[in-house]
């Protein structure tokens, strides 16, 4: 009797959840902030994406900027000014009306020198932050201190705050608003009753009433709950879990193709680094780096480590970045004889299975990577075996992330490093810090006073050229050449672009994968649960 009552109660709870029309998924950690301008980490970023209204959104499938709160925009001839025509009749979630004063207020907040966040930083140029000129109630100009090519994409991460709402940053213009946050348990969003967007049939978006984001760090538990139907989606899956799920629920997995992220390794070329001089001379040799690149089987890395859910990489830009990808570059194929030929040109000789340089030193180096990342540990082990075939001994060292960052950014006590770059931006301007020789993220030899090699000077010149040219095609030509130089000099040896993998419940409709962040969630406002879209809100 008791068991029946329990079953009945369970069914009622489940039915209640369905009645509530609630989307459920997991966040890896609690959001650190709900202030959209202070977002630094992924959980807060997802909340911002689902609640914030922006002037321009980068469409996650076409990769083109589309009008949101701005109905149109126009760039001035000198590239310093973007004039926006704003959407009329839009209200924040608490009913406060939206107009150009809110845009001005948001950019005043963004210009605050004390505000440290990626969104704020991306709007700060060397000559200062942009300002807003209010031209009318629904007209505003954003004026940049210098020509800002590609600046439209920056507005994607700048939700417009209300200058008048007493709820401050909790008054939002996106499809959802914050309803509840229980730290360590969940974040609950409810549909914004004043959201302006309607679908093609005139139904007010979003379709789903509430979104419950449960805080769950354990990916195994997340998978288990998804299998039991307690979660609607998993936004990001690793290849191993994807394969397991695909075997059981072929229709439940989605592969968005190569993501923007890249896995790569590099050698320490810093002149003052505390490593042996003869090793520095290897690492500074383009032929040595090229040889290492050719001795690594990228196909095997994709097939074995990523179960075929990755693509061999030739350079920093993934093929999913349609405009900036340099299709002329092909990843180095696995070719140990070619690698040995390159090494021989540099004076290396393979004797008794050991590669020795021209002074007789055995070729041995250590490769550091972050501990706990199984994919990187496996890649390291495979690279170790590949390099052993050309007589190079590589010691794989896994370090906790903090120690690793300390070594590659401050101490520089390392020989080679294997890491990945998480890329959320399509435009190369976001990578200036990586490619300029003066950049702190120019990892192989950062913070140079002046470029130490001719090819780094070329990259500096080309990056400056693409950052100031207003013609997108001229920018593309410059950045294509940067990719070509990086391919030839191999300061970063690019290995793979892993695919954007996820899982979607059969009950969830309109979910479409995207290689761009936030992957499956990009069109959450159009998600629906069940067969028919409610007619409420027409």
């Amino acid at each position: 009797m008791k068991r029946r009552a329990f079953l009945l109660a369970s069914l009622l709870v489940q039915a209640g959840a369905q009645e509530k029309n609630e989307l459920r998924f997991c966040l890896r950690a609690d959001p650190k902030t709900f202030d959209p301008l202070k977002v630094e980490e992924e959980s807060s970023g997802i909340v911002r994406y689902l609640t914030g209204g922006v002037l321009i959104r980068v469409h996650r499938q076409t990769q083109n900027p589309i009008a949101e709160l701005a109905t149109s925009w126009k760039r001035s001839a000198d590239g310093r000014r973007i004039s926006f025509a704003l959407r009329r009749g839009v209200h924040y979630s608490d009913g406060t009306p939206f107009d150009a004063e809110d845009v001005a207020y948001t950019f005043r907040m963004l210009a605050d020198p004390n505000l440290r966040s990626p969104a704020a930083d991306s709007f700060r140029f060397a000559q200062g932050a942009p300002r807003v000129e209010v031209k009318g109630r629904y007209e505003a100009d954003v004026v940049f201190p210098a020509p800002a090519p590609g600046a439209e994409r920056l507005f994607d991460s700048a939700p417009i705050l209300s200058s008048r709402s007493p709820k401050r940053e909790l008054a939002v213009l996106g499809p959802y608003e914050l309803a509840e946050h229980k730290p360590g348990v969940h974040v609950l969003l409810r549909r914004n009753p004043h959201y302006w967007k309607k679908d093609e049939a005139g139904v007010r978006l979003p379709y789903v009433d509430t979104i419950r984001m449960e805080i769950q760090q354990n990916r195994e538990l997340e998978m288990m709950r998804f299998r039991r139907g307690q979660l609607s989606l998993i936004s990001s899956l690793d290849a191993e879990m994807y394969e397991q799920l695909a075997a059981q629920m072929p229709s439940g997995v989605v592969d968005g193709g190569p993501s923007l992220d890249a896995e790569f390794l590099w050698f320490n070329q810093i002149p003052g680094a505390g490593i042996d001089e003869y090793k520095k001379s290897w690492f500074r040799s383009a032929r040595f780096r090229q040889a290492v690149s050719r001795a690594i089987s990228r196909d095997d890395l994709c097939r074995v480590v990523y179960k075929g859910r990755a693509q061999p990489a030739a350079g920093p830009v993934s093929p999913s970045n349609r405009f900036w990808y340099n299709a002329a570059l092909k990843p180095h194929s696995y070719d140990p004889p070619a690698a040995l030929r390159l090494l021989a040109e540099e004076g290396f000789q393979l004797r008794d299975g050991v590669l020795r340089d021209r002074t007789g030193n055995a070729t041995e180096f250590s490769l550091i990577t972050n501990a706990g990342n199984r994919a990187r540990e496996r890649m390291g082990a495979m690279i170790q075996q590949d390099l052993a075939k050309i007589g190079i001994k590589m010691n794989l060292v896994t370090l906790d992330f903090r120690s690793l960052i300390e070594r590659i950014t401050r101490g520089f006590q390392y020989e080679a490093c294997l890491l990945g770059l998480v890329n959320t931006d399509l435009d190369p301007n976001s990578q200036m810090n990586v490619w300029l020789s003066s950049g702190s993220s120019h990892q192989w030899n950062p913070n140079q006073k002046r470029p130490e090699t001719a090819w780094e000077a070329d990259i500096d010149r080309l990056m400056d050229a693409q950052a100031t040219a207003l013609d997108p095609n001229k920018r593309k030509t410059s950045f294509d050449r940067v990719q070509q130089i990086v391919f030839e000099q191999a300061p970063f040896i690019y290995l793979v672009h892993k695919n954007a993998l996820g899982a979607v419940s059969p009950a969830l409709r309109n979910a479409r994968a995207s290689a761009l962040w936030p992957q499956i969630l990009w069109n959450a406002e159009r998600f629906s649960l069940g067969p028919e879209v409610s007619s409420r809100g027409r």
């Binding site: 195994e220 998978m223 288990m224 191993e240 879990m241 397991q244 095997d300 097939r303 074995v304 480590v305 041995e364 180096f365 250590s366 550091i368 972050n370 501990a371 706990g372 199984r374 540990e377 496996r378 390291g380 082990a381 495979m382 170790q384 075996q385 010691n395 794989l396 060292v397 896994t398 370090l399 906790d400 120690s403 300390e406 070594r407 006590q413 390392y414 020989e415």
Partner: protein, 268 residues
Amino acid sequence: MTLFEKASAGVLCAVFGASLFCGWIAPYPYDLQIRDMTNAAPSARFWLGADELGRDRFSRLLYGSRISLLLAPAAALIAVGAAALIGGVGGLLGGVWDRLAMAAADLFLSLPWLFLLLMVRAALPLNTPPVASVLVTFALLGSLGWAGAARVIRVRARTLATADFAIQARACGTSRWRLLMVHVLPNLKAVMAAQFWISIPLFVLAEANLGLLGLGVSEPLPSWGNLLRDLENFHRVRDQPWLLAPAALLILVVGCFQLLYDRGEVSS
């Protein structure tokens, strides 16, 4: 010796023998990747299947056993030795020595030793050979893991120091040294042995946990610790139950040790 005890001794001899002579027994080198055979199921070619990089699991288990079976007991020996010294001194001498010993034990139990291990690993030269790195790891584990055992030994030593036979021995003029060697230590042996056997699986598991943080045995060297990492994924274990082999071997070895230890304790 009962049949169970004989069987336990036989199993332990077999496991130790196989791990010591793994170079001859293992069908493949532990680091050989046969990339067309990744995640292969058990077969005549791969008795325990192949791992995600196509390495023979049986060979890796043998090599891993050698590392774990030699180094975990070595770490346990260091820990119990330190515990016997500190706990024994505290228990036998009492007073300020006892307070000092227990304060040291409390300090070690409360220290975030994990961070100390991380610091030491981060400070090691990067080209340290994997074997040296493993030795350092287990030596550190041993020298940091004495505090719990020291408390147990101290209680036993305190009881022995105030036992009737000890008082009688001292009344008869027995020197402190003779009291320690003849009367106290033999009686502490069982407690120390218990702590030793208990510590072995703890050190194996500690190494496995450290592996997740990068301080354990690094690739491509196998150990029970990093072989146990395959059990993180429950669904994979359900589909590939042979992944349980390292755990089964660990349980078997610890169980056999326990059976033999029980006998030793009973007979002593």
